[in-house]
C-alpha cells in the first residue's frame, strides 16, 4: 500500500516534469509572443475570478439552506434566545458587508484586467474616502459592540440572580459529576486533599451544609428555574459546554467559575420541536483535556419542577452512610484551615 502510494507520487512528479517540458516547448514553438500569451492569461483568469465569485456566492447560499436543518435547535435557555437574536442581527450586517466587499474585489479585478491600450488611473490618495471608510465601520461596530456588551453584562451579572438553584459541576479526566446543594441550597466545602474512593469530590463531611448534598452522573434541571452552576475541576482544565442552552464556562483546577442560566424547554418538549424522539441535551467537555477528551460528556435532562422534586427525592444524600468513616481523614486536613477551599461562596 505504501509502496503504491510512493509510486503514485513519483509517477505524478514525472508526469509534471513532462508537462512542464511540453508547455515550455509549446511556448517556444508557437508564434505567440509573450505579450499575447499574457493577454490570454489575463482574460482566462479574469473570467475565472468571475465564475469563482458568483459560483461561490450561489454555493454559499445553497449551503446555508441545505445545512440549516443540522444547526442547533432553538435555544433552550432564556439568555440563549437573546444570544441567537444578537447572532442573527450580526449575520445580517456581516453578510451584507461580505457580499459588497467580495463583489467589488472580484468585479474590479475582472473589469480592470490588463489592456495595453489603456493606462491605470493615477489615483493614490483621497482623504475624504479614507475618512468615510474609517467612520462607517466605526459606527457599525459601535452599534454591534453596544448591543453585544449589554447582553454580556446581562448574562454575567450574577448579583441579579440570588435565588438560583445551586449545582456544582465537577470535571475530571474523563467524566463529569454534578452535586446538588439539597434543601438548604448550600454546598458543603470540598478540598482536593480529601478526595478518596468513596468521596470523589473531596466534600467535607463535617460541614453541616454537606449533609443533604447529593451527587449524580446525569444533570437534571427543573424548567423555568434559574440555575447557578459552580464549576470545578480536579486535574486539568475542562470546559462545561451546553450548546443547546448557549452556555459555556471553563472548569479550572484551583478556582470556582460560575455560570447562571434559566432552562426554558423540557427535554420532552424539545423532542417535539426537533421531531427527534431520541433527542437529549448534552454537556460536552470543550477544552482539550487528554486522550479521551472526545468522550467526556454527561446527559442533561430538563423536567418540570414537580418531576425534578421527585427525582431529587429518589437520590441518596452524600453522607448518609459514610459520615463516621470519613471523619478521621478530614480532621487532619482541618488542622490547616487556611488551606481550605470553599466552593459555595454564597
Amino acid at each position: 500500500m505504501n509502496l503504491l502510494l510512493l509510486l503514485i507520487i513519483i509517477f505524478s512528479i514525472l508526469v509534471l516534469v513532462r508537462l512542464a517540458n511540453v508547455a515550455q516547448l509549446a511556448a517556444k514553438l508557437s508564434d505567440e509572443s509573450e505579450e499575447e500569451e499574457q493577454d490570454n492569461d489575463n482574460r482566462m483568469n479574469g473570467i475565472g475570478l468571475m465564475i469563482f465569485l458568483w459560483g461561490g456566492l450561489i454555493l454559499m447560499v445553497y449551503m446555508i439552506f441545505r445545512y440549516k436543518a443540522y444547526m442547533l435547535p432553538v435555544s433552550a435557555s432564556e439568555h440563549g434566545v437573546q444570544i441567537d437574536k444578537l447572532m442573527n442581527t450580526n449575520w445580517v450586517v456581516l453578510f451584507i458587508v461580505f457580499v459588497i466587499t467580495q463583489v467589488l474585489l472580484f468585479s474590479f479585478a475582472f473589469k480592470y484586467r490588463f489592456n495595453k491600450e489603456r493606462r491605470a488611473f493615477f489615483f493614490h490618495d483621497n482623504n475624504k474616502l479614507e475618512v468615510i471608510w474609517t467612520i462607517i465601520p466605526t459606527i457599525v461596530l459601535a452599534a454591534l459592540i453596544t448591543t453585544g456588551l449589554s447582553e454580556w453584562s446581562n448574562i454575567t451579572d450574577y448579583a441579579k440572580r440570588k435565588e438560583g438553584l445551586l449545582i456544582q459541576v465537577y470535571g475530571k479526566q474523563f467524566d463529569w459529576t454534578v452535586r446538588y446543594a439539597g434543601k438548604d441550597n448550600k454546598l458543603g466545602e470540598s478540598y482536593f486533599r480529601r478526595i478518596n474512593d468513596t468521596n470523589p469530590l473531596g466534600v467535607d463531611s463535617l460541614d453541616v451544609n454537606s449533609n443533604d448534598d447529593l451527587t449524580a452522573r446525569e444533570m437534571y434541571l427543573p424548567v423555568g428555574v434559574p440555575i447557578e452552576l459552580a464549576i470545578n475541576s480536579r486535574d486539568v482544565i475542562h470546559s462545561v459546554y451546553l450548546p443547546h442552552f448557549r452556555v459555556q464556562m471553563n472548569a479550572v483546577p484551583g478556582m470556582t467559575t460560575r455560570f447562571s442560566f434559566k432552562p426554558t424547554i423540557t427535554t420532552a418538549k424539545m423532542r417535539e420541536i426537533t421531531g427527534n424522539p431520541k433527542f437529549d441535551y448534552i454537556l460536552l467537555c470543550n477544552k482539550i483535556c487528554g486522550v479521551a477528551h472526545y468522550n467526556m460528556n454527561m446527559k442533561v435532562v430538563v423536567v418540570e419542577p414537580a418531576d425534578f422534586k421527585e427525582w431529587l427525592k429518589s437520590q441518596k444524600p452524600l453522607f448518609e452512610n459514610t459520615v463516621v468513616a470519613a471523619a478521621p481523614a478530614t480532621r487532619t486536613v482541618s488542622e490547616k484551615p487556611n488551606e481550605k477551599k470553599i466552593v459555595a461562596l454564597k
Binding site: 500500500m1 505504501n2 509534471l16 512542464a20 515550455q24 492569461d41 483568469n45 469563482f52 449551503m63 443540522y70 444547526m71 442547533l72 440563549g80 444570544i83 450580526n90 456581516l94 458587508v97 466587499t101 467580495q102 474585489l105 474590479f108 479585478a109 480592470y112 484586467r113 489603456r118 493606462r119 491605470a120 488611473f121 493615477f122 489615483f123 493614490h124 490618495d125 474616502l129 479614507e130 459592540i145 453585544g148 456588551l149 454580556w152 453584562s153 454575567t156 482536593f192 478526595i195 480536579r234 486535574d235 486539568v236 482544565i237 464556562m249 479550572v252 483546577p253 484551583g254 478556582m255 467559575t257 431520541k278 460536552l284 470543550n286 482539550i288 486522550v291 477528551h293 472526545y294 460528556n297
Partner: protein
C-alpha cells in the same frame, strides 16, 4: 558610518575582481566560498532567506501531511487506513489512528504552521531577502546574527521534529499548551519528554525570532540608502519593521511563560498549578493559576497573529500595486493602519479568554479593544479594493494570490467580529467556528501572501522564472480548496461541534454532520495535491526555469536594480540613490507606466506634478 563605508568599498574591489575574468567567475567563487560557507554558514542575507524558505517549505509539507491524516480520521472515523501504520507504526495499529496521537498531530500541525512556517518561514524569508534590497543596503546590519538566527531556527525545527520519534509521542496538549495538561505527564503521555522537547524547541525558536527581529529593525532604521526616507519605504518594509517590533516586544513574554512552565514541570514550583488530584494522589502544588499562563501565552499569542499577517499584507501591497500598474491607494493610511493594528494587537489578548473564568468586566474591555482593531483592518481592505479600481491588472500568479489574500482577509475578518463579541463567543468558543475563522484569516491569508511573495520574488532569489501555467493551476486548486475546507467548518461550529475531538461518533446529534466532514476532507486532499504542483514548480524552476530578466515585473523598487546574478553586497557599484516613493505606476505623462525609485525628478519633467517639486 565609517565602518560601513569601508566595507562597501571592500565589496566594490571584490566585484571588480570578478569582472576581470568573468569566465572563471564560478570557479573563483568556489575557491573563496566553499560549499559550507556559501550554502550553510553563510552571512549573505539572500542565501539566508533561501535557507529559511526551503526549511519552511519542508516544515509546511510535514504539517500538511499531519492535517491530511487527521482529516481522514474525522471524515471516516470507522474506516481503517492500513497505509497509516506504515507511516505511524504503533500510533496507527491496524490502520486505526490512536486518539492520543490524534491530539499530537493537531498540536504539532498547529505549532509548525504558526511558528515555523508563518512566523519563521514568512518573516525569515522575506524580511531577509527584501529589507537590504529594498532599503538599499549591502547586507543586514549584522550578518553573523542573521546566520545565527537561521541556525537557531534550523536546530529548533530539528528538535521539534525529533519529538515525533520518541516513545511517549510529541507534545499533545494543543498548540496553546495550556497547563495543567501540558505540565503533567500523568495527564497525557505527550506531556512527558515530548513537551520538554517542545519547550526546548520554542526557546530556540524565540532566540531565532529575536536575533532576526533586532537585525531587521536595526537595518531598516540605520542602513537606508541616500534619499530613502521613512515615507519612501515600500509598504513591505513598513510591514516587516512593525512585525519585527511586535516580535521583539512579545516573544520574550512567551519565553517567560515557557520558563515558568519548565519550572512547574521540572522544579516543583506552582506558578500554574493548584489543587490537583491526579493518578490517585493529590499533588503538592498549591497557589498557582492556570489562567496566568493563558494571559502570558496570549500576550504573545495575539500579536503573533499580526506577526503572521502583517508581512503577508505588506507583500500583497507591493504585489497588488505592481501588477495593477497603479500606486497603492492611501500609502500613508496604510502605514497608519499598520501602526494602529500593531498597537492594538497588544491590548486584545483577553478575547481568547472570555470564558476561562476571567472577570466578565475585563472581558468587556477586551471586546471593546478587539472590535476597535477591525477599523484599521477595514481601512486596509478598502484601500486594496480601491487600488484595483481603474487599475490595469496583470494576472500573474502572484497577483491572483494577493487578490485571494484580500478575499480571505475579508471573510475571516468578518467572522472575527462574531468571536470578538463576548456574548456571541460563549456558544462558538473552542468549536469548529474558531478553527474556520483563524484558518481563513490568519492561516490562509498569510500563506497566500507567502505564495504571492514566492512567485513575485522567485526571479530575484534564483535568477529564474517559475512556470506561470503551473502557478495558475496551483492558485485555482488552492483557493477552491481553502474555501471548500474552511467555509463548511463554520456550520460545524454553529452546530456546536467542539474542536480537538478525535471522533464525533458518540454523539447522535452530530452524526448527520459526517457528510460535511467528508466534504472538507475531500477538499483538503485536493489542496494537498495542489501543493505538490507548487513544490514541483518551485524546485524544477530553481534549476530548469526560464532565465529571468533584471526587472521582469517592471517594478519600481530597488531590488530590481541589482544584477540577476547574486553577489555579496548586492550592487556591483555604488548603492543607488533614491529620489521618489516606490509607487509611481501609471503616472500621467510618463513614457512607461512605471518610474523606478532611482530616477530623479529632473529626468522626468514630462510627468512631474507640483507636489513632486516640493520634495
Amino acid at each position: 558610518m565609517e565602518v560601513n563605508q569601508h566595507s562597501s568599498e571592500a565589496h566594490v574591489t571584490e566585484t571588480d575582481d570578478h569582472a576581470h575574468g568573468h569566465a572563471h567567475h564560478d570557479d573563483h567563487h568556489d575557491h573563496v566560498e566553499n560549499f559550507w560557507t556559501k550554502y550553510l554558514f553563510t552571512t549573505d542575507h539572500k542565501m539566508i532567506s533561501k535557507q529559511f524558505l526551503v526549511t519552511a517549505i519542508g516544515m509546511a509539507f510535514i504539517a500538511m501531511f499531519m492535517s491530511l491524516i487527521f482529516r481522514l480520521q474525522l471524515a471516516w472515523p470507522d474506516t481503517k487506513f492500513p497505509f497509516l501504520e506504515g507511516f505511524l507504526g504503533k500510533w496507527a495499529k491496524d490502520g486505526v489512528l490512536d486518539p492520543g496521537f490524534y491530539l499530537a498531530l493537531v498540536t504539532i500541525h498547529g505549532t509548525i504552521m504558526v511558528f515555523f512556517v508563518l512566523t519563521g518561514g514568512l518573516s525569515g524569508t522575506f524580511s531577509n531577502l527584501l529589507i537590504p534590497l529594498q532599503v538599499g543596503a549591502r547586507d543586514m546590519a549584522s550578518g553573523v546574527l542573521n546566520m545565527l538566527s537561521f541556525w537557531f531556527f534550523a536546530v529548533s525545527s530539528a528538535v521539534m521534529l525529533s519529538s515525533l520519534f520518541i516513545e511517549t509521542g510529541p507534545a499533545s496538549a494543543g498548540w496553546t499548551v495550556y497547563p495543567p495538561l501540558s505540565a503533567l505527564p500523568q495527564a497525557i503521555p505527550g506531556s512527558g519528554l515530548g513537551m520538554t522537547l517542545w519547550l526546548i524547541s520554542m526557546v530556540l525558536f524565540i532566540a531565532s525570532a529575536l536575533l532576526g527581529g533586532i537585525n531587521y529593525i536595526a537595518t531598516v532604521l540605520n542602513l537606508r540608502t541616500k534619499g530613502m526616507s521613512m515615507t519612501r519605504l515600500p509598504l513591505t518594509i513598513w510591514a516587516f519593521l512593525v512585525t519585527a517590533i511586535l516580535g521583539v516586544l512579545s516573544f520574550p513574554v512567551l519565553f517567560a511563560a515557557s520558563l515558568l512552565l519548565v519550572m512547574d514541570r521540572s522544579f516543583g514550583t506552582s506558578f500554574y498549578l493548584s489543587d490537583i488530584f491526579i493518578d490517585g494522589a493529590p499533588l503538592e502544588h498549591v497557589g498557582g493559576s492556570p489562567v496566568l499562563f493563558q494571559h502570558l501565552f496570549w500576550f504573545l499569542g495575539h500579536p503573533e497573529v499580526y506577526i503572521v499577517l502583517l508581512p503577508a499584507l505588506g507583500l500583497a501591497s507591493e504585489v497588488i500595486s505592481t501588477n495593477a500598474r497603479k500606486p497603492i491607494f492611501g500609502y500613508k493610511a496604510m502605514i497608519g493602519s499598520i501602526l494602529v493594528i500593531a498597537f492594538l494587537s497588544f491590548i486584545v489578548w483577553g478575547h481568547h479568554m472570555f470564558i476561562t473564568g476571567m472577570n466578565p468586566f475585563l472581558g468587556s474591555v477586551f471586546v471593546f479593544t478587539t472590535l476597535l482593531i477591525a477599523i484599521p483592518s477595514a481601512v486596509k481592505v478598502f484601500n486594496y479594493i480601491t487600488t484595483l479600481w481603474r487599475g490595469n491588472l496583470q494576472f500573474t500568479p502572484q497577483m491572483l494570490f494577493a487578490i485571494g489574500l484580500v478575499s480571505f482577509f475579508i471573510s475571516g475578518g468578518l467572522t472575527g467580529i462574531i468571536l470578538g463579541d463576548s456574548a456571541l463567543d460563549i456558544n462558538v468558543h473552542d468549536t469548529y467556528f474558531v478553527v474556520a475563522h483563524f484558518h481563513i484569516v490568519m492561516g490562509s491569508s498569510a500563506i497566500f501572501g507567502m505564495f504571492a511573495g514566492v512567485y513575485h520574488w522567485f526571479p530575484k532569489m534564483y535568477g529564474r522564472m517559475m512556470n506561470k501555467k503551473l502557478g495558475y493551476i496551483h492558485f485555482w486548486m488552492t483557493i477552491v480548496s481553502v474555501y471548500g475546507v474552511f467555509f463548511p467548518m463554520h456550520f460545524l461550529g454553529l452546530a456546536g461541534v467542539p474542536r480537538r475531538y478525535y471522533a464525533n461518533t458518540a454523539y447522535e446529534g452530530f452524526s448527520q454532520l459526517i457528510n460535511i466532514n467528508q466534504l472538507i476532507t475531500v477538499f483538503a486532499i485536493l489542496g494537498g495535491i495542489a501543493q505538490f504542483i507548487f513544490a514541483f514548480n518551485f524546485f524544477y524552476s530553481i534549476w530548469r526555469g526560464k532565465r529571468a530578466t533584471q526587472n521582469p515585473w517592471k517594478s519600481n523598487t530597488l531590488e530590481w536594480t541589482t544584477p540577476v546574478e547574486h553577489l555579496h553586497g548586492n550592487w556591483p557599484g555604488e548603492i543607488p540613490e533614491v529620489h521618489r516613493w516606490p509607487y509611481d505606476y501609471g503616472k500621467p505623462g510618463s513614457k512607461e507606466d512605471f518610474i523606478p525609485q532611482t530616477i530623479p525628478y529632473s529626468e522626468t519633467p514630462e510627468s512631474n506634478t507640483p507636489d513632486d517639486l516640493k520634495h
